[in-house]
């Protein structure tokens, strides 16, 4: 059982590794860690749903190298991201920025939740309210009286 588990883990491990090639890795582990963090936020423009760290596309490799170059040149993580964003647009960021174009994207989920809660609350309150009873008017009162009297007479028969 344990052997099987180890085998499974060993088989799965290669998938977890990044596409970062050995010659790209920076000698300074701190800078490399920062480069990895920046790379995680960058979309590969060829394979769209991968970050550049896990993509084997040529452009992704170029971007990885560029990120490292910027970081070695003294850029902060945000500056390195902004540098690439200026060339490839907001689309290259895996986490979309909050701006006029993305208001709907960011605000729609909480807005929908609020609307749903509001509608639910209104429905619940509406149900709790007991409907006001309307009294009978004079003619109805009279009709009821007559009906009862007729019933009584009928019973006597």
């Amino acid at each position: 059982m344990l052997r099987l588990l180890i085998l499974l883990v060993a088989l799965v491990l290669p998938f977890a590794s990044a596409a970062v090639e050995p010659d790209e890795i920076l000698s300074d582990p701190v800078l490399e860690a920062r480069a990895r963090e920046v790379s995680k936020g960058l979309r590969c423009v060829v394979c769209l749903n991968q970050d550049i760290d896990s993509s084997n596309a040529g452009v992704a490799r170029d971007l990885r190298l560029l990120v490292r170059e910027r970081i070695v040149a003294g850029d902060s993580n945000d500056e390195a991201l902004t540098f690439i964003q200026a060339r490839y647009g907001d689309y290259v960021l895996l986490k979309p920025p909050y701006n006029a174009k993305t208001y709907v994207l960011w605000l729609a989920p909480p807005a929908m939740l609020l609307i749903a809660l509001g509608v639910g609350l209104a429905t619940l309150l509406g149900r709790r309210k007991t409907p006001k009873l309307r009294g009978l008017n004079v003619t109805e009162e009279h009709e009821v009286k007559q009906f009862i009297e007729r019933q009584k007479k009928g019973d006597n028969k």
């Binding site: 423009v45 040529g58 170029d62 060339r87």
Partner: protein, 187 residues
């Protein structure tokens, strides 16, 4: 109030239906990455000529301040769609008189020279982008890509992929016409 609420399911269905219609539109390409360069100044770059080729190199200053809008095409000898597109670009340069510039993207000089010798060289200038860095400046995601640059250096149009087939050529011609890059007026 109650009547408005009764319309709510219908309006929700209409909104969702609208999104589905948009999503199912066969003309929509979900892989299309919107370009930030449109209406922006062309990026700064400076490329040496392809070693051994008698065509001068390319930098931003060559694309700016020209008399008509110009076309900049990113190509490589290893790129098969570029081969298909080459005849279209050659015809536009030779018959319609557009000014065509090229970036030879991540290509071995000897391969590029052989490729151009075989298919012809319609480019006025070719910059050799061995590292792909100029490609990043232009925000390209692959080859071929083609840009139309206005006389003041702003990017007017970007086409991702080869300009082949009636639809793509028609769209590109229209963009050229609008940019005033067709000296003959498109006829």
């Amino acid at each position: 109030m109650i009547r408005i609420l009764a319309l709510l399911p219908l309006s929700i269905a209409v909104i969702f239906g609208g999104f589905f219609l948009w999503g199912l539109n066969p003309d929509r390409d979900p892989n299309e990455v919107p370009s930030v360069l449109i209406a922006q100044p062309a990026p700064a770059f400076e490329l040496d000529p392809v070693v051994g080729l008698h065509t001068p190199g390319l930098s931003r200053s060559d694309l700016v301040g020209t008399e008509t809008a110009v076309v900049m095409n990113v190509f490589a000898s290893w790129c098969v769609p570029c081969r298909a597109e080459h005849a279209v670009l050659t015809s536009l340069a030779e018959k319609d008189g557009i000014r065509l510039f090229g970036i030879n993207y991540k290509d071995k000089p000897e391969d590029a020279i052989r490729w151009l010798a075989e298919l012809g060289n319609p480019y006025e200038r070719i910059g050799s982008d061995l590292s792909g860095r100029a490609g990043i400046e232009w925000g390209i995601s692959g080859v071929p890509e083609t840009f139309i640059i206005n006389t003041d250096g702003t990017v007017l149009f970007r086409h991702v992929g080869p300009i082949v087939g009636e639809g793509a050529i028609g769209k590109f011609r229209e963009a050229l016409l609008q940019a005033g890059a067709l000296p003959s007026g498109g006829l």
